[in-house]
Subunit: 215 residues, 2 copies
DNA sequence: TTGCCAAATGTCATAATCTGCCATATTGTG
DNA sequence: CACAATATGGCAGATTATGACATTTGGCAA
């Protein structure tokens, strides 16, 4: 399982990093709360900074743009999932590897379902955030590519194949995310992801059979 | 084949629409040219408007944002491709339908390779435009969904399946686009697209076999 | 042609995002 | 304590984007 608050920073070295983490977390939590309450456009950076108690200039020292503050937690989750996946990589099938990875992501969503539903509603209310959310989702591709590549080292596979597979996985993840958002968390994100990934089952099967038939 | 300049506006009704089309085209062509020459950031909306000879306020009456002007031609191509595809829909296989559709898109790119290479370089030079380009590319999904759905009316298929398939096709299109950009148009976009779509071949085959085995 | 109406455009004012620069305050260290 | 490094605040400025109002231009009928 992915743990966010605990495994991130082992060496609590000094007061500086502690304050910095605290300010960053406070900024992004306040931002999401204000976005949910008053809308993304109606909330200014000055208001966020003022509510936290820092200067507007400081906000832009933590986040490169107003949009990025909304997806900051997503970056944390990605780092945590990467760490979990890098620990041990059992010699299971390609489909199982991908499925376990994406289910790990979905579990992270489910563990903070309330927050992510809030984020989803903010994104849906502001069409311009759809683009940013799409980009954020596509950052997962870089996580899946090495997983896929590791399974295809035995057969001569072009980079295009790996890219298309990773892109298809992200597409399945996005569909699952959309449906999870629309269904109002009546169902776990994990089950939605499994359902979407099942569509790609024949694809992985064909790849693996091509791999196994290689003498 | 897709024709952009000719089949768009049959009724040359009046001087108003003529001027309007002319201004719009002039704005987007000037914008792309200035972006390519001086960079996206270094080019201001005032400069674009000034070069065309209109007010900066007029620019925002044609395009909702500075980003959109870069993808305006893409919207035209999408409309043209949709029109071509809606004419006749032969009863070919799902894989062939999708392939022909995406190849049609690729042909539109190849017919204006210079322009799209320019656009690609502008996008690659400005990371923030990657997000906008990704969103623009994903608008094709709405074009592919009905094509896929039409082939799956006979079997009980969830909307998730259609969405994942369309998303996978867009992913293949994106990989092909990336590789076409990187290769410097030494190869047709159409061949890149065919290569990427071939990866999804087993997926379509599985779907179609499931359809055919239904008694 | 003349005159009216609607559409297109220009001008001005304004809010908000984002950046560069410098001064100040806080933290870590010898 | 003294000094260096880092974090923050304040401020001016450029740029994007929008609303309100006036002006011009094209379409259409008397």
């Amino acid at each position: 399982m992915v743990k966010l608050s605990h495994c991130a920073k082992q060496p609590e070295v000094g007061l500086r990093e502690y304050k910095r983490d605290r300010t960053r977390r406070s900024l992004r939590e306040t931002a999401v709360r204000l976005f949910a309450e008053n809308g993304y456009h109606a909330t200014t950076v000055d208001e966020i900074a003022g509510a936290v108690g820092v200067s507007p200039r400081t906000f832009y020292r933590y986040f490169p743009s107003k949009e990025e503050v909304l997806f900051d937690v997503s970056t944390d989750i990605r780092a945590a999932v990467v760490e979990v996946l890098s620990e041990v990589q059992p010699a299971i099938s390609l489909a199982d590897s991908i499925t376990s990875a994406v289910v790990e992501v979905a579990s992270a969503y489910d563990s903070q379902a309330e927050l992510f539903q809030q984020m989803a509603q903010i994104m849906m209310a502001s069409p311009e955030l759809r683009s940013a959310g799409l980009e954020d989702l596509h950052r997962w591709e870089a996580v899946y590519v090495p997983i896929i590549a590791r399974h295809l080292t035995d057969i001569p596979t072009s980079d295009a194949t790996i890219g298309v597979l990773a892109g298809a996985v992200v597409a399945a993840q996005r569909i699952a995310h959309d449906r999870w958002m629309a269904s109002g968390q009546q169902q776990d994100m994990a089950s939605h992801v499994k359902e979407s990934l099942a569509v790609l089952g024949p694809l992985f099967a064909a790849i693996e059979s091509a791999e196994s038939t290689r003498t």
